[in-house]
Amino acid sequence: MKKPVVFLITMLITILFLLMQINFLNTLPAFGIISNIGIVLISAIGITAGSNIGGLLGAFYGIVIDAFFSKTLGIFFLLYILVGIISGYLKNNISKDNKMSLALMVVINTLMFELSLCFFTCYLYGTPFNFLFLLKVIIIEELYNIFLTYIFFRPLIYWGEIINRSRDSYYLLH
């Protein structure tokens, strides 16, 4: 597949996942905690296509979330880039052929994401630190994200491979 087509479809997939998060997953909280499909998407693409593409995708996803919802511009931008980069770096250490590996990747990324978000929320907005809430968010969101990973594992890894194959023609990313 040609690079502009792959690029365009990747952006469309990202927007689709974003819309799914806003319109569907936001309305389906488990014990008051919502899942984060962005972490699943960026982890899966990052683990197959590498940290550059993972980071770029994270940047796109994060900037959109920041622009639409964040009280401060840049927090989600930074965190999703980190998710993409971490996934890319662990590419060679984690097998992308089984769901457990990707689930482990999602667990690591969710933990990093929520701890950082807790720090930013308390530090920047003066929100009182609540350990019980943090624990609740981490446990429930981890489980919820693992569930989503099992659902979207195959199509995302498949698309990651397509991006990977067309990588040589990605002049912007080299």
Partner: protein, 277 residues
């Protein structure tokens, strides 16, 4: 020769007798209500029985007769009923729309009464922040509609929050449930001043915390609170919620109360943004 002549004469006589009998029969049966004789019935039976069989067979293919005709009639009736059902369903859907519109108009009427003291801009909530730490809502009105940051946001039920960021066509609202939210309020009855704060755990249940409660004051369940007008964002008198729990601490100055907001944030659809003078 004479024999053949006699036969011809007899034949003619028989023919004449037959014709006479026929005429007599015609004459005797014409225009009278009568019961047929056994002979007639016997004769009829020869015709009627096969006629019945033929009639049954032919009726199966005949539009004017029973079985297929019934099916056709049923089909036709079914068609008519189906179209009637479709028509009624359509009317029912229209009815639902009318009911919904009526409710909307009622809410608008209520809103008009409620908002008569303020100059408001109505907006629809189009999205909610997709993370567990914030309570940020996005509305479909922005700068081009006259919205500016720090405008208070309400519904017909009560206080929602304030506008934190304004775009050309959309704006962000930080709700009173947000854990970073903190503002001054007063108890509607006692007029005592307190601080209303958002809480990470309570926000899921549309609840906020009340702190800075005056010494020796105890709020009972159902006590209501409204904005105090202090702080520069919210005007005085906007309904916030009612007490559902009072928490006694060792130090009475640290007592807290849990307030259930009047606004159901899980079903937040339409809000009013107050234009401040």
């Amino acid at each position: 020769m004479e024999r053949t002549k006699l036969k011809r004469i007899l034949n003619r006589i028989l023919k004449i007798i037959l014709v006479l009998i026929i005429f007599i029969l015609i004459a005797s049966t014409n225009g009278k209500n009568r019961t047929s004789s056994w002979a007639e019935d016997f004769a009829k039976d020869f015709i009627i029985i096969p006629q019945r069989v033929v009639q049954l067979i032919s009726s199966a293919f005949n539009d004017n007769n029973t079985i297929i005709n019934d099916i056709e009639k049923l089909k036709e009736k079914n068609k008519v009923l189906n179209s009637r059902v479709a028509e009624l369903e359509e009317k029912l859907a229209d009815y639902d729309i009318v009911v919904q519109q009526n409710e909307k108009f009622k809410a608008l009427e209520k809103a008009t009464d409620l908002y008569k003291d303020y100059d408001v801009i109505m907006a629809d909530v189009i999205a909610v922040s997709p993370n567990n730490w914030d309570e940020v809502y996005v509305i479909d009105k922005g700068k081009e509609n006259g919205i500016t940051p720090n405008m208070p946001v309400i519904t017909t039920d009560g206080l929602v929050g304030y506008v934190s960021e304004v775009g050309e066509k959309s704006s962000k609202i930080i709700s009173i449930l947000d854990a970073s939210s903190s503002f001054s309020a007063i108890a509607s009855e006692t007029r005592e001043q307190v601080i209303v704060k958002g809480d990470l755990i309570l926000k899921e249940e549309n609840k906020v915390k009340i702190s800075e409660i005056p010494f020796k004051t105890i709020y009972k369940s159902g006590d209501t609170f409204e904005t105090s007008g202090i702080g520069g964002i919210y005007p005085k008198g906007l309904k916030i919620g009612k007490t559902i729990e009072f928490i006694n601490k060792e130090n009475p100055l640290e007592n807290e109360a849990i307030l259930e907001t009047y606004v159901n944030f899980n079903k937040l659809e339409r809000v009013a943004i107050i234009k401040m003078p």
